[in-house]
């Protein structure tokens, strides 16, 4: 098990390899479809609220409830599994380049553009277990704030969350390796093998 703690430096990211199991500690940002499109259109969130430089992005639309009132008002995340990452494939590489994003968390893997951006700019894709909304919500210790709640709606907003022991697996590293590319190729060749057996 590798521990990845903020600050997320290029050195720490370059040390990660496909297959590593990682536990993340620190501040991360949720961002899904609406935010990726918005960033891609050239919008920049105010730096004092959301500083994406050297950040970790999580493809997630959490279920968040509001608790307390007045000064005691705060947010609690009650379910927070990853959403399918491929939808952000057209935008991800550009965002990694522009902000020096150091890690992208999601599920289902990403494509060639993201793999190449990870290699070039020192980023990794970290795969969380899809459907594990409760285990992952438990690893979220605090909601620091939210950006764009009005603009994007709750699931699509940028939630600033403090995580501890947040469990993921490296499936695209910064050295050009992608577990997704590998498994796709090996399963395609296994399928052809089974097909030729079936013909006999």
């Amino acid at each position: 098990m590798v521990v990845l703690k903020a600050p997320f430096t290029e050195e720490k990211i370059r040390a990660l390899k496909v297959g590593d199991r990682v536990e993340i500690y620190g501040l991360i940002f949720t961002a899904r479809d609406a935010v990726h499109k918005w960033l891609h259109e050239g919008n920049v969130p105010p730096k004092n609220e959301v500083d994406l430089t050297n950040s970790v992005i999580y493809h997630c639309g959490p279920v968040v409830i509001e608790k307390g009132a007045g000064a005691k008002k705060h947010y609690v995340v009650t379910a927070a599994g990853p959403t399918t990452s491929t939808r952000e494939e057209p935008y991800q590489a550009g965002i990694i380049e522009k902000y020096g994003v150091k890690a992208v968390i999601g599920k289902g893997g990403m494509g060639e553009n993201t793999r190449l951006a990870c290699q070039k700019f020192g980023c990794v894709y970290l795969h969380a277990v899809g459907g594990a909304a409760q285990v992952l919500a438990e690893a979220i210790k605090k909601v620091e704030g939210v950006y764009g709640l009005e603009k994007f709606g709750s699931p699509e907003a940028i939630w600033k969350i403090q995580v501890e022991k947040f469990p993921v697996v490296v499936t695209i590293d910064s050295h050009g390796n992608s577990l997704h590319k590998e498994i796709e190729a090996s399963s395609a060749s296994a399928l052809q093998g089974i097909y030729s057996e079936l013909k006999k």
Binding site: V169, I183, S187
Partner: protein, 298 residues
Amino acid sequence: MKAALQKKFFDSLVEVIRKTSTELPDDVVRAIEAGKSKESEDSSAKYAMEIITDNIGLAKKKSQPLCQDTGSILFFIHYPAKGVDYSVMTKLIQKAVAAATKKGYLRQNSVDSITGKNNGTNVGPGSPTIHAEPWKKDFFDIRLMLKGGGCENVGAQYSLPDSRVGAGRDLLGVKKCVLDAVQQAQGKGCGPGILGVTIGGDRATGYLNSKEQLLRKMEDENADPLLAKLETEITDEANRLGIGPMGFGGKTTLLKTKVAAMNRLPASFFVSVSYMCWAYRRQGAKVTAKGEIQKWLY
């Protein structure tokens, strides 16, 4: 339906939704445990399966949704022909869905396809989906499936012959299509998956029937020996693809396959594949004529 019955029936429906969203049925948990035991120690596949089993326990304990995508809401219902008004029953189901959403058992998950608006209730055209048939018995059989978007998106329908897959109009061709669907899905459907497959029908009935196969118990055996054999073979062969839990690589790509056949037109030969994720949320209840849950069906 009398007011007292309506109230009881409504409460029972909300409880069916809560249980479906937060607890996996025992037969599914057994299959997941069996899959976990097959993965090698210290592999990513084992690690994923451990997180999955932890998540199942945690969701049940906290009575919170297993997965934040609480999915398409699919009801399969038999109701007493005598004394139950279909439209009243349907309204109660919609009311129960809205109430379960408010309580957080369901995410605000239903979007107007034209405007993109989400009214936050999960009630709208096509949501919830209710398949209901009257019967002569004096109780309700209410089954619910919550099917998330990740796995629904990797479902597939083939029209044979299919030249890309190299599938002809026979059982060999059927098998090739189903294995192709599993390979195409990779880890995107949140595997290990469970397949519902229907050979034949038209495009709509084929897909619907393939979903209905997912109402069968994991351990049941197909009454048709030919299809029973096909089910076992597909699962075994898919597990040789090495895709594994979440697409991490590993031995457990599928937990089960369920196959059915419907008649087809001479001109059509469809193979419809519904992929269900490991978060296989389906539950059901026998509900008495008084609206009370008498027993759970899974």
